[in-house]
């Protein structure tokens, strides 16, 4: 039968990559040098399993590497070789290299042969010059004319109890050539003493075959310790007369199988199917439409149905409940555990810490916390940046830590949990903390400070989110490239989330990221401007205050400012700038203060309405992108409400201020 092995490749690639992840996770455990037998077993099994598959499916590079790895790990497992830092490094390098090879195989790329060969030879060198070639099953086929053999085969009594059967062995011998079999009944007991589960017979076989002796031996290969066997060549032959008497092989020591292990690498075997994300999005969208129609129905029927429970009202209530459940289930399908974003962190921490000569362990909690897939993809990079930053800037060198009375080994704690409709991720380090005075000084040097008022400590800390700010004395190779904390904050805010910072000098720093569970539903504050309703994402709102004309001033005739707390913030009058027909001014006018980057600004609105869950509809898909708007939603009464994009409105304000400043400067020069 010919079977195309390539049909199993996809499974092989994905399971091997999983095995490598498991191996890496074990290797990254903080006390790997004194690892438990269970840990080492997991690592060994991963290498073993990848080797088995790669050799079977013909991936020679991978088989070559894993073969040596398996040998090395077996030595570690039996205590013959210590698992020291250098070895862990080498093993991690092997994980990387194997991953590259697997991906190259999967995606059709070409692996870096030089790197593979270099690693292979370094691994080979480690196993005391043993030649290493993974066994490849080959059938030897040395023909040497027909010869005659006499075989004496006396099974031990227990032979049957291992699932072997003399009849099958004799039949196989018969397949090799012509044979004459004589049974020996000497050992056969009286009938009443005969135990049918034991074997009392013996045989003498004369066999004439062209096949080599190895083929005969192979037939008895499984029972050679369960029988007395002699194989003799009848004719003289150039080959040494091969006798294989193996009298009473010492019984193998009672097996001492490793204690059953519980692995936490649980590869979920419970039924699941892959569904295209687009299809799920379509479903979520449809549910969104349903919700809109439902609230429409409720408001049409509302006044009549509310008073007395009409049958229609009751049915509608049921429908509403079902729709909510449906919505939840649909959204649930897009949910994945945050562990997908977390699993790269231990390696990252280890590598960065090693490069800098720091000692850091990472503790991860709440990795099963679920979040929307799209959201996860977007928080992954900011998260990595924060963790990298913590190792690079937050944590001190071991000596410095010890002098400060702290353990030399620092801890970074990453924790995820749900809070309300949000996912919160905290990154906490026990490093040196941020010094507000130092930050003030630095900001002053860089000209980032505004004239207005003295900065509180909390505000000073927030300066590190300013573009172009870096507290590190020198730009390091690690965090000093490209993306700064300003970008991190903006990316989170674009998702409708926020970043919060706490720090204590000498104690450490905590960054808290909060993002909505999903991108398609947001908690929205409805506001009315003129005749139109708008939505402000609740997460962006700092506070809403009653509009007090006394706190409002206009600078240079255009820049509208509003006094808030100890300072002034820009005030955006969308009613004016977007030319929305204003109703008569009421004393209900409010200023909704929102946060963007480290800036705040106010939105002047005519009235605060309800807070509610808003199903986001894309403007781009249905109309076109509009600056200042993040999307639209349909309200219960069928009206469309536009969702304000706090980010792009903030940018708008920034541009306006810069523009005005330049103009003032030009006027001053003139």
């Amino acid at each position: 039968m010919s079977i195309d092995l390539s049909r199993f490749h996809a499974v092989f690639f994905s399971e091997s990559l999983e095995q490598l992840d498991a191996m890496e996770a074990e290797l990254l455990k903080p006390d790997i040098e004194s690892a438990s037998a269970e840990s080492i077993n997991t690592i060994f099994r991963a290498a073993h399993s990848v080797k088995g598959g790669s050799a079977t499916f013909g991936f020679t590079h991978i088989a070559g590497l894993t073969h040596v790895l398996e040998t090395i790990l077996d030595e570690v497992r039996s205590g013959k070789r210590p698992l020291d830092r250098d070895l862990v490094d080498l093993l991690l390098e092997s994980v990387d290299c194997l991953r590259d090879l697997l991906r190259a195989g999967r995606d059709g790329g070409s692996p870096d042969e030089t790197a593979v060969n270099s690693l292979q030879s370094r691994l080979n060198a480690l196993v005391s010059g043993e030649p290493t070639a993974p066994a490849v099953a080959t059938e030897t086929d040395e023909q040497s004319g027909a010869r005659e053999w006499i075989i004496r085969f006396r099974p031990h009594r227990h032979l049957l109890q291992r699932g072997n059967d003399p009849y099958r062995l004799l039949r196989e011998l018969g397949d090799l050539g012509d044979m004459v079999v004589t049974s020996g009944l000497d050992q056969l007991p009286a009938f009443d003493a005969l135990d049918p589960e034991e074997c009392f017979l013996e045989w003498r076989i004369e066999l004439r075959t062209e096949r080599p002796q190895a083929d005969i031996q192979e037939i008895f290969e499984w029972v050679e310790h369960d029988c007395d066997l002699e194989i003799e060549a009848v004719e003289a032959s150039p080959e040494a007369p091969a006798a294989q008497p193996e009298p009473q092989a010492a019984p193998a020591p009672a097996s001492a199988p490793q204690a059953p292990q519980v692995t936490d690498a649980g590869v979920g075997a419970h039924g699941s199917i892959r569904v295209d994300v687009d299809k799920i999005d379509q479903l979520v969208n449809l549910v969104g439409e349903l919700i809109i129609t439902e609230s429409r129905l409720v408001s049409l029927l509302g006044t009549d149905a509310a008073g007395e429970m009409t049958a229609v009202g009751q049915a509608l209530e049921n429908l509403s409940r079902n729709i909510r459940d449906l919505q939840e289930s649909a959204l649930q399908m897009r949910m994945v555990p945050v562990s997908f974003a977390f699993h790269r962190l231990p390696r990252l921490v280890r590598d960065v810490a090693r490069e800098l000569g720091k000692e850091v362990v990472i503790e991860i909690r709440g990795e099963q916390t679920e979040v929307d897939k799209g959201m996860l993809e977007n928080i992954s990079d900011p998260l990595i940046h924060l963790v990298r930053n913590a190792v690079d800037h937050g944590i001190e060198m071991p000596e410095v830590r010890k002098q400060a009375g702290k353990p030399g080994r620092a801890t970074i704690d990453v924790r995820a949990f749900h809070q309300g409709g949000n996912v919160v991720i905290e990154v906490t380090d026990d490093g040196k903390g941020l010094d507000p005075d130092l930050i003030r000084k630095k900001a002053e040097e860089k000209g980032l400070l505004r004239e207005e008022g003295e900065l509180s400590d909390a505000d000073a800390l927030n300066l590190i989110f300013s573009p172009g700010f870096s507290t590190a004395e020198q730009v390091s190779d690690i965090s000093g490239r490209g993306v700064g904390l300003d970008v991190v904050r903006q990316n989170i805010q674009k998702l409708g989330g926020r970043v919060h910072l706490e720090s204590k000098v000498g104690k450490g720093t905590r960054f808290t990221i909060a993002v909505p569970l999903t991108l398609s539903i947001i908690e929205g504050q409805l506001v009315r401007i003129g005749q139109s309703a708008f939505v402000v994402p609740v997460l962006s709102i700092v506070e809403s205050v009653r509009f007090d004309p006394g706190q409002f001033r206009t600078v240079a005739g255009e820049d509208r400012l509003y006094r808030f707390r100890d300072g002034v913030i820009p005030l955006l009058e969308l009613g004016k700038s977007w030319d929305l027909e204003h109703g008569e001014k009421t004393d209900e006018q409010m200023v909704v203060i929102v946060e963007w980057g480290r800036d705040m600004y106010g939105l002047l609105v005519d009235r605060l309405l309800d807070q509610q869950q808003i199903v986001l509809k894309s403007l781009e898909e249905n109309f076109r992108r509009v600056s200042g708007l993040a999307g639209a939603t349909i309200l219960g009464d069928g009206a469309v409400a536009l969702i304000l994009d706090i980010g792009s409105l903030g940018v708008l304000i920034g541009d306006r201020r810069r523009h005005q400043r330049r103009r003032r400067e030009r006027e001053d020069e003139a």
Binding site: M1, R162, S255, P257, T263
Partner: protein
Amino acid sequence: MPTILAVDDSASLREMVRFTLSEAGYEVFEAGDGVEALEVAKENLVDAVIADVHMPNMDGIELISELRKLSGYKFVPILMLTTDSDMGLKQSAAAAGATGWLVKPFSPDRLLETVKRVLG
């Protein structure tokens, strides 16, 4: 149609074994580790078992010992999947009651030949 229980924690190898044997007309049950295999074996009395040695939860050797304790599996052929470096393991496997072994890597043809040795 003879039935075979294939036990391996590697999905790709298990799939290869299952596919090859099914194509050859055997009915194949699958299990991902020893614990699972034991459950399947209790529910379906199979004609042969092929099991990997290194597996989480319960390894192949322990699986064999457990199977041999079941009255239905006293004489059922049990084949171990081993590698050349596992010489010591072959001994332990035999002591635990393994019938024979199949050395990895193996081709589908080799697998069928080996199974034929015990099932004919």
